[in-house]
């Protein structure tokens, strides 16, 4: 399978810039997820790849095939791009049986008779719909319809598989199952896949790599671990998961650690800089709730120590989430330990307290 190269992709609807110089490289066989707040341009990106939108600028290629290149004047129509697309609404044709839906791309390519029937059966087995070939879409559940859509997208092997929030119409339980199922299927056939994720759990659990977008701009591309543990900027840090953000200014810049004064906390905090920081520069510190250590041993190294009082506590089954007050700063901490009493000592790991330039306004 070839890899996907997108560069300089720009698209404006009237004066609303939906995509601004987007560059994405999807590796061969990888499952790449687009993630970002509503309206950030995920669907626009996907549809530009599929040829359903007409970008203003940029280039899209899959392997040797150029799908779109404004400068060279190449703009293949959707039917020539050979992308299998699964739409959020599934868009299964209600007037055709499951088998006819899946057979449609083959029919268009003059795959006839037994060959077509064999392929349809094979694909239906792949998406586990072998028994339902003669049913009509209205006789299927949401999850089954979605698998018909997937089967149709795969029937004539596409260059790329594109999925736009395919699970958003499924209920929570089914969605979880569908994720694992799709992930396994994608690995099995090894097709390069671009996936618009409905939420971050989906993105984190399924992806080889995640593209975080905001306002038509790519903020970060990385593996789920990279995105979660080392967000490129405050937007990504704040968007993915829960994070404590503390504003302050740099007291002493240092090559490995900066010393930051946070108003409301008496002692300065040490943090890992994500970029060179000058003295007195405003910074925001970001710490994940689950990295904060409760009641650290006195000799444990590499921690900022802070005393805090418990404000409230929510029990979430496998863990507990506390809201704590440290000086005038509120911290969220997630732990499986139980805090006894109302005051507690906290340890913020220096390595995992990231310092980003700028104030709370995460632009």
């Amino acid at each position: 399978m070839p890899d996907l190269q997108i560069s300089g992709l720009t698209k404006a609807f009237d004066d609303n810039v939906a995509l601004d110089d987007v560059a994405i490289h999807g590796k061969d066989g990888e499952l790449l997820t687009l993630l970002g707040p509503s309206g950030c341009g995920k669907s626009t990106t996907l549809w530009s790849i599929a040829g359903l939108h007409d970008p203003d600028r940029g280039r899209i290629s899959v392997g040797d095939a150029v799908l779109f290149d404004r400068e060279q004047g190449i703009d293949l129509p959707p039917e020539a791009r050979e992308c299998g697309v699964v739409f959020q609404s599934y868009a299964v044709w209600p007037n055709m049986t499951v088998a006819d839906n899946v057979g449609y791309p083959l029919k268009l390519r003059r795959v006839k008779g037994a060959e077509r029937a064999d392929r349809v059966r094979e694909v239906l087995d792949l998406v586990e719909l072998g028994d339902l070939a003669e049913r009509y879409p209205h006789q299927l559940s949401g999850g089954q319809q979605q698998r018909v859509a997937l089967g149709r997208a795969l029937a004539f092997p596409p260059r790329l598989l594109l999925l736009d929030e395919p699970f958003s119409n499924l209920d929570a339980k089914l969605r979880e199952r569908a994720r694992t199922w799709l992930r396994d299927l994608q690995r099995e056939i090894g097709i390069t896949t671009v996936f618009v994720a409905h939420d971050q759990d989906e993105a984190l659990s399924m992806s080889d790599r995640i593209v975080v977008m905001d306002h038509g701009v790519v903020r970060q591309v990385g593996t789920p671990e990279e995105i979660y543990d080392a967000p490129a900027d405050l937007f990504v840090a704040d968007f993915i998961g829960t994070i404590n953000l503390l504003e302050g200014h740099v007291l002493r810049p240092n090559r490995t650690h900066v010393e930051v004064a946070v108003p409301g906390i008496s002692d300065p905090l040490l943090a890992a800089p994500t970029q060179p920081l000058a003295a007195d520069a405003p910074v925001t510190l970001a710490v994940r709730p689950e990295t904060i250590v409760i009641d650290p041993a006195p000799d444990q190294a590499g921690l900022n120590r802070v005393d805090a009082t418990v404000v409230d506590r929510s029990y979430l089954g496998d863990h507990v989430r506390y809201r704590l007050q440290a000086g005038s700063v509120t911290l969220t901490v997630q732990t499986s330990q139980t805090i006894v009493g109302s005051t507690v000592a906290l340890g913020l790991p220096i390595d995992r307290t990231l310092a980003y330039a700028g104030g709370g306004d995460r632009g």
């Binding site: 697309v85 268009l108 795959v111």
Partner: protein
């Protein structure tokens, strides 16, 4: 790959025309048919001689003649008075019916709410004949009241207010339909809020309900007014004996009855009429475009609360029933009696003179029977072709990336603004220019094309909502599966839109079966259609066979609508 078998290979099928060529062809064809014919009328109105004669030059004389003709201004005055009366009357009546049937506990309101739609469903001309047969000065009811009761006859159908009375009876249901739609979509909790704030039911109606449906009322007023300005059959049938001319009959007479025919003058009049109606409908779009202000916001809509009429309940029921009887039952009875009796007069018991001779005459007389077959042919073939055209054009207009698609969206609704007379004249001049041999006009294609274009907007307004309700992902999925635009349209959209096309065909069939205005200028011996035959022969005094023809037209309409309802769930007023 887990696949044991080899992966399929194959080359993509392509439509033999690239999508943009198909789209351009459809677009150009649509515009030429819809907007194109206006050009020859304008030309004819600005030309000193008829276009089929050689020579001639550019001139404003036609307009000068028109605007200095006192008869024209007399006709304008009559038309405007008539339109104003019709509008006021039908809006008041239509709104009252909508409120009564959707918001109160009036007995039998369900029955009335569909029964009163009869004038919307059945062709207008036969109903008008029924009215005339019963209520005209020499009509059955008028004479019966005169002879058997001391009641005064306060109406005179052969006057402008009398014609407005008939017209109100026909237009009120249209207003009622629009107002009912607005009331049904309105959140009744707004009314409950007013009630719980201490307002009486009537006060609530007056201060909350009616203001909220004001856009719908404004909208229907403009529509009724514009339609009343161009109405032809009514003044032709009722106005002739007192020599009351409307704009439409002025044009009709100057074309057909004045020697030599004033074709330049009439073309100028048609252009003025078209311009007026177009401006009216543009104003309407302006005014009703601003509807967001009236949209009810928030919350879940609760079902409409019922206003208790109390002591007024039965008197209002009696009034409604009397209205229904007077406006629908008696005229329909009049039509049937005229058709099935040899003579209809209060001095002879109609049951003693029942006969089917009028129907026999319809069958035997070549003009009558030809009108039926012609009308049926036009309605079936024209309706089918127009349905396909509407589907294709609507898809180009709404489901393509075609550059000029918006122009098509406007063009498709424009025929609604074209008075039928103008459409007829537009095609008359177009055929004069494009087909000097007259072959098109001598065949049914001439009238058929004009009727089809005229009903385009109607079919489109039934078709478009269905198209819009089909998610665009359905065609996108076909495209990404490998179908080019036309293949996706053919294999997915057209298939899914079959019911919508069925609905649109039924409505077009019914409209084209009873249409006649455009035929006035286009008819040739051999291409008579039912409506025009009825009109001409009624004026010539042959009431019985005309009524029989009307009964046949109503019967065909009802049968087709019945099937339409069964097969596609067609509803009136779509």
């Amino acid at each position: 790959m887990t696949a044991a078998t080899a992966l399929p290979t194959g080359r993509l099928k392509h439509s033999w025309l690239p999508a943009w060529v198909t789209q351009y062809l459809l677009w150009a064809g649509g515009l030429i048919l819809i907007v194109g014919p206006i050009i020859p009328v304008v030309w004819a109105s600005l030309w000193s001689t008829p276009l089929y004669e050689a020579g001639g030059s550019l001139t404003l004389a036609n307009y000068q003649d028109l605007l200095t003709d006192p008869a024209w201004w007399e006709a304008v005055r009559n038309s405007v008075v008539f339109a104003v009366l019709t509008t006021i009357g039908s809006v008041a009546l239509g709104t009252a019916m909508a409120v009564l049937f959707t918001r109160t506990d009036l007995p039998a309101r369900r029955f009335f709410s569909s029964a009163l739609l009869v004038p919307v469903i059945i062709p207008g001309l036969p109903l008008l004949l029924g009215w005339t047969a019963m209520y005209a000065p020499a009509g059955y009811v008028t004479r019966w009241i005169d002879e058997h009761t001391p009641l005064p006859i306060f109406w005179d159908l052969y006057s402008v207010p009398g014609m407005a009375l008939v017209s109100i009876g026909i237009a009120a249901p249209v207003v009622y339909l629009l107002a009912r739609g607005a009331l049904a979509s309105q959140d009744a909790s707004l009314e409950m809020a007013a009630r719980s704030a201490g307002a009486s039911p009537l006060r609530t109606l007056r201060t909350v309900t009616i203001p909220l449906v004001r856009p719908a009322l404004l909208n229907s007023s403009m529509i009724v007014f514009a339609l009343s300005l161009e109405v032809l059959g009514l003044p032709l049938i009722l106005g002739t004996s007192n020599d009351i001319q409307f704009v439409s009959t002025y044009l009709y007479d100057n074309w057909l009855n004045v020697v030599p025919s004033q074709q330049g003058l009439v073309s100028a009049g048609a252009v003025v009429l078209l311009a007026t109606v177009t401006v009216l409908l543009l104003i309407r779009n302006r005014l009703t475009g601003d509807v967001a202000r009236f949209h009810t916001v928030g919350g879940k809509t609760t079902s409409a609360a019922t206003v208790k009429l109390g002591g007024a309940r039965w008197p209002l029921f009696a009034a409604t029933a009397a209205y229904f009887t007077a406006v629908i039952v008696i005229p329909l009875g009049g039509l049937l009696l005229t058709a099935f009796t040899t003579i209809l007069t209060p001095s002879i018991d109609p049951w003693t003179v029942l006969s089917t001779t009028h129907f026999q005459k319809v069958v035997d007389d070549p003009v009558f029977s030809r009108s039926i077959t012609n009308s049926l042919t036009i309605a079936i073939v024209g309706g089918a072709l127009a349905t396909v055209a509407i589907a294709a054009l609507a898809i180009v207009a709404h489901r393509s990336s075609f550059r000029h698609r918006t122009s098509l969206q406007y063009a498709m609704v424009y025929p609604r603004a074209m008075p039928g007379l103008v459409t007829g004249m537009a095609f008359f001049w177009s055929f004069v220019i494009l087909d000097p041999s007259g072959a098109i006009r001598a065949s049914l294609w001439g009238i058929g094309i004009a009727f089809a274009v005229r009903s385009l907007a109607l079919g489109y307004s039934a078709f478009y909502p269905q198209l819009a309700s089909l998610g665009e992902d359905l065609d996108r999925a076909a495209r990404t599966s490998g179908a080019d635009w036309w293949t996706a349209v053919k294999t997915v959209l057209f298939k899914l839109l079959r019911p919508a096309m069925g609905v649109s065909f039924v409505l077009l069939f019914v409209a084209m079966l009873s249409d006649y205005d455009p035929a006035v200028f286009l008819v040739t011996p051999g291409t008579e259609v039912m409506g025009l035959t009825m009109l001409k022969l009624w004026i010539a005094g042959s009431a019985g066979p005309v009524a029989a023809l009307g009964v046949i037209q109503v019967a065909i309409t009802l049968v087709v609508l019945g099937f339409g309802r069964l097969l596609f769930g067609v509803r009136p007023g779509a």
